[in-house]
């Protein structure tokens, strides 16, 4: 019905929309310990049979650990904060924050896990930073989206 209202310029977008979609599992955040970044450790149903529970849990635990390090209010974190305040935060033009360093570590960890663990099983982890730290996205490549 709407074909003749679809301008030529928009045809490209509709093609992109029709990309092959995979089943995606989303692991939400765990707020039992406040607003710090943690992901739930409950094993999602859709991954049963494709991934061992142990592996999944160890990945999630390690991820949570890195985030905890990033958000931990330790002495060194405070010192860095005070120092930055004193320099009117101009120091951040040159140096990156502790949190950013930890996020890089997270990316590295995820890439490594994908290569070693997830891709051989036909799964893929997406960096939570690209999802705004809302969810941890696991794509299953050999299943259609509505499975």
């Amino acid at each position: 019905m709407s074909n003749h209202y679809n301008n030529g310029g928009r045809a490209g977008e509709t093609e992109q929309m029709a990309q092959p979609q995979y089943l995606k599992v989303f692991i939400p955040r765990d707020y039992t310990d406040g607003t710090i970044v943690r992901f739930q450790r409950s094993f999602p149903q859709e991954l049963e049979g494709r991934l061992e529970k142990q592996t999944f849990e160890s990945t999630i635990n390690r991820l949570n650990e890195i985030f905890e390090e990033a958000e931990k209010a330790s002495c060194s974190a405070y010192c860095e904060g005070c120092f930055a305040c004193v320099t009117a935060y101009l120091i951040y033009l040159c140096k990156e924050t502790r949190y950013e360093k930890k996020l890089r570590k997270v990316s590295k960890f995820i890439a490594e896990q994908n290569e070693r663990v997830f891709e051989p099983r036909g799964l893929k982890l997406t960096d939570p930073s690209s999802r705004g730290l809302r969810v941890l996205e696991i794509s299953c490549f050999d299943r259609p989206p509505n499975a």
Binding site: F26, T32, G34, Y89, E96, S129, P145
Partner: protein, 570 residues
């Protein structure tokens, strides 16, 4: 320690020259250009503010202006006569205030990027909302999720705009149209939301501004006092009016700024946001044992954590490059096509005049509205709305309610009688007209009205039976009670133009119209002159030549009811 190499050449450049290396290539689209909130971006996405930043400019102007005047007029005197430290301290305070202000206003407050379309779909599947009220305008109840945060039950709300469950302490800013993490408030003076990432800058700003205001006030007053000779204060003011101006401005602003600084100090020490404080989420007044689960327990620890704790990076990645996969992930709402195509409604196309059977009692009451095929009423291309239901007129013998298949296009009001623009009151109050539920009759007849000749304009008004509520749509036919109108009182094609209506005579005062009781008769105003009546009566007869002529001799003509020709819906 990794060192970032800032790209100073690219600072504040236009997006067309985003990278110096790719000048020959096509322009890349950065994510800030397709950002879904209402924020404004500057310098290639490096700085962002709220949509309306007018008050922020006022703040900058006030602070800069007052400080400049202070430095020019007061500091000169005070540096020479008191101590050189005064301008130095003043400069330091001013620089600190302005840098905090700029950092608050131009940074990301902690915006939570909107959920991708797949995430949103996943969340929707997880929540089964049984919607019992199947009305198109009914919104399902706000979805909430309860979580236990350190033993305290917190409700997470679902944000319909961003399509995610808001983390605890996050809130949606309606001005910027974003969900902001640890949302404090939206400050128009600062021109941005105050959230997790820029709360410390905001706090620093108001504290340093309080110090600055007090400092400038004290110095200005000291200056005035020092140049007062022989107790003549007004002479001193005349000698240095700028100081007086500065002192007055500072005096009035210092109260509110000090108050705000004090309030935020309290919030910082108890680790609450303005939002939570206003809502009273963690006060003991509620009767229950609600404590603040986010507090560190200690006043100092809370302060430290908020002001010097780790600062989260911006999650919206303003300067990232937009890829095709990113574009497809965005959960864009499906745009409804604004113009419904003039499709086939399942009716046979009829061209030319349609022969009306005189015995309209046989009409089963199925009506269709005019389509372009009749030729008589060529509809406006932009306003062909189909009614969801067509409720037949009250006076017809065998009314049936036939649902039509077309969608309703907003704006419509389902419970409103179709209204007409000026001059066609008879249709407005008519019980003979089928009530097209959901149709926007205004537009439907719009093009027609210039050709209507309405004899009733301010002279004779037709009042009909009082309006009754249309019967409910899903009613069983057998139980449907038909309003019975005796043959002689029916208004149908056989009687149009021919039936003598009962007339009553009334006298209308000039300018005032008497209230008429509703009844099925014509009220003839006795003050109507005979030539007026002749004008009305001498109307050209109607011809079926495709043009919409209407002969009005007091009643809607048969041609009018062309619209309501019996036909079957299939």
């Amino acid at each position: 320690m990794t060192v970032k190499h800032p790209n100073f050449t690219g600072l504040c450049s236009s997006p067309t020259i985003s990278t110096s290396m790719t000048m020959a290539q096509d322009r890349v689209t950065r994510k800030w250009e397709i950002f879904q909130g209402r924020n404004r971006f500057y310098c290639g996405g490096r700085f962002m503010t709220a949509p309306k930043a007018g008050v922020f400019l006022l703040t900058v102007f006030l602070i800069t202006g007052t400080s400049t005047v202070f430095f020019i007029f007061d500091c000169k005197y005070l540096a020479e006569n008191v101590t050189i430290a005064i301008p130095i301290i003043g400069v330091f305070l001013f620089v600190f205030t302005m840098s905090s202000l700029l950092r608050t206003s131009l940074s990301d407050p902690g915006i939570i990027p909107r959920a991708t379309s797949e995430e949103a779909a996943y969340v929707e599947k997880q929540i089964e909302v049984t919607n019992s009220a199947n009305s198109p305008t009914y919104r399902p109840p706000p979805r909430t999720k309860e979580v236990l945060v350190k033993g305290q039950t917190i409700k997470l709300k679902y944000c319909f705009t961003c399509k995610l469950f808001r983390p605890p302490r996050a809130s949606h800013c309606s001005i910027c149209d974003n969900c902001v993490d640890r949302f404090d408030h939206h400050c128009p003076w600062v021109g941005n939301c105050v959230g997790r990432r820029n709360y410390r800058f905001f706090y620093m700003f108001i504290v340093s501004l309080a110090f600055l205001a007090v400092f400038i006030f004290a110095c200005a007053v000291a200056h005035l006092i020092l140049i007062t000779r022989d107790g003549k204060f007004f002479e001193a003011v005349k000698e240095s009016p700028a100081s007086a101006v500065v002192a007055v401005i500072c005096f009035f602003s210092v109260w509110s700024i000090l108050g705000l600084a004090g309030f935020h100090t309290y919030l910082t020490t108890s680790n609450q946001t303005t939002n939570e404080d206003i809502k009273g989420s963690f006060t003991s007044k509620r009767g229950q044992d609600s404590f603040n689960p986010y507090s560190q327990g200690n006043v100092c620890l809370n302060c430290f954590h908020i002001l010097c704790g780790p600062i989260a990076p911006s999650l919206i990645d303003r300067r990232g490059i937009v890829t095709n996969s990113y574009r497809s992930e965005l959960s864009q709402p499906i745009t409804l096509e604004p113009n419904m195509p003039l499709g086939n409604y399942g009716l046979k196309a009829q061209t030319g005049p349609v022969h009306i059977t005189t015995n309209t009692a046989d009409l089963s009451g199925i009506y269709r509205q005019a389509t372009e095929s009749t030729g008589m009423y060529s509809p406006l291309r932009r306003h062909i709305y189909l009614a969801q239901q067509i409720i037949p007129s009250k006076n017809c013998a065998n009314p049936k309610i036939i649902p039509s298949r077309a969608p309703l296009v907003p704006p419509y009001n389902m419970h409103q009688r179709p209204t007409m623009v000026q001059g066609t009151n008879m249709i407005k109050n008519s019980n003979s007209m089928p009530q097209l539920k959901g149709i926007c009759l205004e537009d439907y007849y719009e093009y027609e009205l210039s050709q209507y000749y309405n004899p009733y304009d301010s002279k004779i008004v037709v009042y009909h039976k009082p309006h009754r509520q249309p019967p409910p749509p899903n009613v069983d036919e057998d139980q449907f009670s038909r309003p019975y109108t005796p043959q002689e009182k029916r208004y149908n094609s056989s009687t149009f133009g021919y039936k003598e209506m009962e007339t009553r005579r009334v006298r209308d005062k000039p300018g005032k119209q008497q209230p008429r009781p509703r009844s099925s008769c014509v009220y003839e105003n006795v003050d109507v002159t005979s030539e007026d009546i002749d004008t009305y009566r001498n109307v050209k007869p109607v011809r079926f030549d495709g043009k919409p002529h209407v002969r009005i001799e007091g009643y809607p003509k048969a041609e009018f009811s062309q619209m309501y020709v019996q036909s079957s819906f299939d």
